[in-house]
């Protein structure tokens, strides 16, 4: 990371800590915000967050690595999560899973080489009556079929590349 980028990230985290309050309770909201904007919680981020809250960086690592929506790995701009729990399983999530892997060219738990997509499994996401269910960042898709997979991914792809009017990313909050 360039020194200027580091400085920028530090001041960003400092401002975040001031806004949310420099208490331990702010740790998870801070990490969520960093993850949302930078798609990764790396060791430098953990150190800065730890300094801001006056805790040991290993504490930050323990929390970041515990939660499925945080983690310490670099993820794509679009995190695609397919529900694998029982009702979606009964609704043939396997067919959707195969199509996702084929379209993205990656397996579950990996990120595309261009850093745009991460494919992950999710545990029950509360869409059991309308499975198979899929989350793309914060957006939910239900009754997903292999044909719909193409549509959903194409919609994401339209937000970047030569046809994108501006960089637009799907986040609801």
């Amino acid at each position: 990371m360039l020194i200027t980028e580091r400085d920028k990230l530090s001041s960003e985290i400092g401002a975040l800590a001031d806004r949310l309050g420099r208490t331990r309770s702010s740790l998870i909201p801070m990490l969520q915000e960093v993850k949302r904007t930078h798609h990764v919680i790396d060791s430098f981020t953990m150190q800065i967050v730890a300094d801001a809250l006056e805790i040991h960086p290993v504490e930050v690592h323990s929390v970041a690595s515990f939660y499925a929506f945080l983690g310490t790995e670099k993820q794509g701009e679009f995190v695609v999560r397919l529900c694998r729990t029982i009702s979606c399983d009964l609704a043939d999530k396997d067919a959707v899973a195969r199509q996702l892997q084929t379209n993205l060219g990656i397996g579950f738990g990996s990120t595309t080489a261009d850093g745009k997509f991460t494919l992950e499994w999710a545990n029950c996401m509360g869409m059991c009556d309308q499975g198979p269910a899929l989350l793309v960042n914060d957006r939910v898709f239900t009754r997903v079929t292999p044909e719909k997979v193409h549509e959903i991914l194409a919609d994401c792809r339209r937000s970047f590349g030569v046809f994108a009017p501006e960089h637009k990313e799907e986040h609801l909050v």
């Binding site: 939660y67 029950c124 996401m125 509360g126 059991c128």
Partner: protein, 401 residues
């Protein structure tokens, strides 16, 4: 696109804010007395009496107390809280305000699971509207000295955070690892302050009870399980969705109502619940018979019950917080057993050991996750032994997931 089929719900017949107005017109002790009289039990699954919980929190002397709404709906097959938060957010916030009045808290927190982030904006809008209407903030409804406000904090993807002490750990910025109980959250909760952690549906029910009275609530359900309950129905039935039924309804009656007659088995209570075979469909869904947080998953005759057990165990291995050994190691061993069953290579001696291990997990695990995670697998072994034991190797399939 994401709307669920929703049956008629009592919540739609409740006059807005009637419960809160009634609560503000009576002394604090009377609110809890009314809740006690209704005998309403927690709707999240554990079934702890709500009146007792509020009473413990109210009895504590503390400068600060918290009302926490558990919207970390993670139990497989449960989605009623999503529907309640979408359709009746006011009722939930009203219930929280009543709880604040009853226990003497000024702050409410909604712990919303990360998977429901798309609900956050509309919930924030509802909160803002309530502040404008004087239903939140300083002197709620013009009542001097009663201040109450609610904020939303997002979860970060952990099933175990549905357990109340793990939820508090997460709110405080720690790993979602359940605490030893006692002390209970009603004594030492969020930031060490007395806190009542209640399910979304329980809080909405509290608002209804205050609006319509305990006797109205008790007129439905059974003696030990009063009132109606909202069920999330999914799996092999014609009309999956959200339904309200009185507690004490038999599984057969419920199946008839959702078009699931002819099912081979029903999983009641989600992955941590039990699998009820067709022969026992006359059993009642109530705290005294088959308890549930509302999850009903229907399995048609063609379903492979071993795959069901395998899916649940996979879930628990993934979601165990790893803090205590019986749960961390036990679930992995259970999954290994299910895989051997699938290959047809599990010896009967190993099966007996698995049963003993399940008992150990039930007794020795620290929280409800490990205490209940083997239930489904064990009830499937018990009821579908013929189907899952001694599979021929030709039937085996490659490991999934």
């Amino acid at each position: 696109m994401i709307t669920s089929t929703v049956g008629p719900l009592t919540f739609s017949q409740i006059e807005p804010e009637a419960g809160l107005k009634a609560a503000l017109a009576m002394p604090r002790a009377d609110i809890i007395a009314e809740i006690n009289k209704s005998s309403v039990k927690g709707r999240g699954g554990a079934g702890f009496p709500l009146g007792m919980k509020w009473n413990f929190a109210a009895a504590e002397q503390s400068a600060e107390k918290f009302v926490i709404c558990n919207a970390d709906e993670g139990e497989p097959g449960t989605f009623k809280d999503r529907v309640i938060l979408t359709e009746f957010p006011d009722l939930v916030f009203e219930g929280m305000t009543i709880a604040g009045r009853a226990i003497g808290a000024k702050n409410g927190i909604v712990y919303l699971r990360a998977e429901y982030t798309y609900l956050r904006r509309q919930l924030e809008d509802t909160l803002a509207k309530r502040r404008e209407q004087g239903l939140l903030g300083k002197n709620v409804l013009g009542r001097d000295g009663f201040d109450f406000d609610i904020r939303i904090q997002m979860g970060a993807g952990a099933y175990v955070c549905g357990e109340e002490t793990a939820l508090i750990e997460s709110l405080e910025g720690f790993r979602g690892e359940p605490r030893n109980r006692p002390p209970f959250p009603v004594n030492t909760g969020y930031l060490g302050r007395p806190s009542t952690v209640n399910n979304v549906e329980t809080l909405a029910d509290a608002a209804c009870i205050l609006a319509k009275g305990a006797d109205w609530f008790k007129s439905k359900g059974t003696e030990k399980s009063t009132g109606t309950k909202i069920f999330s129905v999914s799996g092999d039935c014609e009309k999956p969705g959200v339904y309200e039924f009185p507690l004490g309804i038999s599984i057969a009656e419920l199946l008839a109502a959702v078009g699931g007659a002819g099912a081979k088995a029903v999983q009641v209570g989600g992955a941590s619940g039990i699998c009820v075979p067709a022969a026992q469909f006359s059993r009642k869904i109530a705290f005294e018979d088959v308890p549930t947080g509302g999850s009903i998953i229907v399995f048609a005759p063609g379903r492979d019950m071993l795959q069901v057990a395998h899916n649940f165990l996979d879930f628990f291995v993934d979601e165990s917080c790893g803090q205590c050994t019986p749960c961390r190691g036990g679930n992995a061993k259970m999954l290994e057993g299910a895989e051997k069953l699938r290959e047809g290579t599990l010896t009967l001696a190993a099966l007996d050991e698995l049963k003993e291990l399940a008992e150990t997990m039930r007794i020795a695990s620290k929280c409800g996750l490990g205490q209940t995670s083997s239930n489904a697998f064990m009830s499937i072994i018990e009821n579908f032994g013929d189907e899952i034991m001694a599979r021929a190797l030709t039937q085996s399939e490659p490991a999934r997931n």
